[in-house]
């Protein structure tokens, strides 16, 4: 199985259990750099796919929570290189497929070819790059595809139909359906326009569709059920980690299961 196919398989396995997949986000090295590996394992105990945030000084698509977690991670010297080395050294590796979520500039500084090689060695299944629209993504797409890694594409409620089709064609892993215009971390209401939009994306997508931006609680998860293949939990989980909560238990509660 190609690395990017592991993502779809993990999402399908959750769906086979009758539930949307949980895609959980953490900022690498937040709140404490030395706890990264332990936090990752605790999240992996309850999540189906994990997004590891590479901190960046100027996270323009993110709200205050991820801005704060990024800053604190950077202050502790967390870098893309350190993240990849830590992942490569993890034994045993976590079972859930791992994605890196990074703004473009740290990737460019690393070099796209070296990045693809290092990501493959670190058992990373793909990347999400919030400031890389697909028209500008050829070079990264090619570097990652050559090693079977996914470049996850984003779509939004304001993406025109014709563009949506082109994005769907290019997508690997899953499609990241941004539920609302705006930055991450706000509380999403889920009106019927949102579920209609997600249904529309899902009809066209050749890969699973996961909804993200503003999903914080069980109520929203229930509203999205049947309209998505997975949900992305970002800022809310970062806040759980920040407050010293147990991410496994919190994710299980979100799912409506008893904690492990």
């Amino acid at each position: 199985m190609n690395a990017h196919e592991r993502i779809g398989a993990a999402i399908a396995a959750a769906n086979a259990r009758g539930e949307p997949a949980l895609v959980a986000y953490l900022t690498a090295g937040f709140p404490r750099r030395e706890r990264f590996e332990a936090d990752l394992r605790r999240i992996a105990a309850a999540a189906d796919v994990i997004e590891i945030g590479v901190p960046f000084t100027d996270p323009m698509a993110d709200g205050v929570t991820v801005q704060r977690s990024s800053r604190i991670a950077l202050e502790q010297g967390v870098s893309l290189r350190w993240i990849l080395q830590t992942l490569e050294a993890m034994s045993p590796p976590v079972a859930a497929p791992l994605l890196l979520m990074s703004y473009l500039n740290p990737l460019l500084a690393f070099g796209l070819e070296p990045l693809a090689r290092a990501a493959e060695r670190a058992a990373v299944a793909g990347l999400i790059v919030p400031d890389l629209p697909f028209d500008e993504g050829d070079a990264l797409h090619e570097a990652l595809s050559a090693r079977g890694l996914a470049l996850v594409q984003m779509v939004t409620p304001v993406t025109p139909q014709e563009r949506l089709e082109r994005i769907c064609e290019r997508s690997r892993g899953f499609i990241y359906a941004v539920t609302a215009t705006g930055t991450t971390g706000r509380n999403l209401s889920v009106p019927v326009e949102v579920t209609d939009y997600l249904d529309r994306v899902r009809r066209q997508a050749p890969v699973p569709v996961c909804a993200g931006f503003g999903i914080r609680g069980r109520e929203q998860l229930e509203r999205l059920r049947g309209h998505v293949d997975g949900v992305i939990i970002g800022s809310a989980l970062v806040e759980v980690l920040e407050q010293g909560g147990d991410p496994t238990e919190w994710l299980c509660t979100l799912r409506g299961r008893a904690g492990v």
């Binding site: 100027d58 205050v64 870098s79 690393f110 400031d131 939004t156 304001v158 941004v178 215009t181």
Partner: protein, 409 residues
């Protein structure tokens, strides 16, 4: 990426840049969240439909003349020329309404925003000049305006905060990130991402995703067009050199654009050398930066080995920015424009010189160009130089109280 300088210059001169992908050679492009792509497509279509069409041009020219006060003067700096040894002319953007070149762009974009049906305007500001210009243009056109400004800049440019509020704008302090221009752009982008259909982002410099670097250049190009005609009228020939300060680079690209095809005219941009060459001690992007992506375009950037954006320092808030417009990155790469830097100290000396010899208080940003002019004059005695005096320095009084005036007390 290699660039054939001759071909690139020919392409640029022929109007072939930016290309259909918003590229100036390898630089430029559109690196923004997917949410903003439709808004940029609409803006691009709006620019192509209106910017060079007679109704917009008539409206813009009318307002530039009757409200902004253009054309601005070209002043011969008689005593400064005698002191420094070259013939120095000043393109007086400080005389434009609201006190800087920023009004050319703010007015043009506000007129465009109105045609595109925008309900509200957001803008970022560093020195506050773009914020004041945006607030004024929005008041003139009856559009609500929100300005994001770093909390450090709000302190050092306090007079401009008051001006924006008087002009009816909402000023939002940005306490995240580096609390200067760069954080203000981040925050303005976040606002725009939240409401991309009704909000118009009035970007103040020749940076950002396509079509902004092009749009801002076209709206600022009036500076160089006027200056080129004025100097020919005054001297009977083109100057030996033109000079402007470069932060994001809007006054500079506006000044340079008309002169780029004039092979005999040397073009020099002056960046903020700050306290020196150490990382974080300056904002001299083209001198010390490497290519990368920030705020929507691929250009030169002050960054560390991991691609994290560096803190910058400059005595002038308007130049205190780790990036630079993509067209400047190309002009530097192909060697058509030479970029150098002037330190905080040299800029302050420039302020003193212009005040004493010509009775003009320049903005700290513009004073960097004066520092460059002094060096050029010493190297080219008798030569003719046009300097873009991008703005006036009243806004810098809090900084000048702590520097030039404190030394004297």
């Amino acid at each position: 990426m290699s660039v054939n300088a001759t071909d690139a210059l020919a392409d640029l001169t022929a109007g072939g840049m930016p290309d259909a992908h918003g590229r100036f050679g390898p630089f430029g492009g559109r690196y923004v969240p997917e949410t903003l792509i439709p808004a940029l497509e609409r803006l691009d279509a709006g620019v192509r439909e209106h910017l060079h069409a007679p109704p917009f041009q008539r409206e813009f020219a009318g307002e530039l003349s009757s409200w902004v006060g253009r054309p601005t003067a070209l002043t011969f700096a008689r005593r400064l020329s005698a002191e420094w040894g070259a013939r120095i002319w000043l393109k007086r953007e400080d005389l434009a309404h609201t006190g800087a070149h920023k009004i050319n762009n703010a007015l043009g974009q506000a007129l465009l925003a109105r045609r595109l049906g925008a309900r509200r305007i957001v803008a970022e500001t560093g020195a506050g000049q773009h914020g004041v210009a945006s607030a004024a243009a929005c008041a003139r056109l009856g559009l609500p305006c929100t300005v994001y400004m770093g909390s450090i800049d709000m302190e050092r440019q306090a007079p401009n905060v008051g001006r924006m509020r008087l002009l009816g704008a909402t000023v939002v302090a940005v306490a995240s990130g580096d609390r200067t221009l760069r954080a203000a752009i981040d925050e303005a982008l976040r606002d725009w991402v939240s409401d991309p259909t009704q909000t118009y982002y009035l970007l103040g410099s020749a940076v950002g995703p396509h079509p902004y670097p092009y749009l801002v250049r076209e709206l600022q190009a009036v500076i160089g067009r006027e200056a080129r005609a004025q100097i020919q009228e005054a001297e009977g020939r083109l100057p030996d050199a033109v000079m402007a300060c470069v932060g994001g680079g809007s006054n500079a690209i506006g000044m340079f654009h008309a002169f780029v095809p004039d092979a005999g005219v040397e073009i020099i941009g002056v960046e903020a050398g700050g306290r020196g060459t150490a990382l974080g001690g300056n904002a001299a992007t083209l001198s010390f930066g490497r290519p990368g992506v920030l705020h929507g375009s691929y250009s030169m950037l002050l960054q560390d080995a991991d691609g994290q954006i560096q803190e910058t320092h400059s005595v002038s808030a308007g130049l205190d920015y780790p990036g630079v417009g993509p067209e400047h990155a190309l002009l530097a790469r192909i060697g058509r424009v030479r970029y150098e830097s002037a330190s905080d100290e040299e800029a302050l000396e420039g302020v003193t010189a212009l005040c004493r010899f010509e009775g003009i208080l320049p903005a700290l940003e513009s004073a960097h160009a004066l520092a460059g002019a002094r060096r050029w004059a010493h190297a080219h005695p008798g030569g003719t130089l046009v300097v873009c005096l991008s703005g006036r320095g009243d806004k810098d009084m809090p900084t000048l109280q702590q520097t030039l005036l404190a030394e004297r007390a």
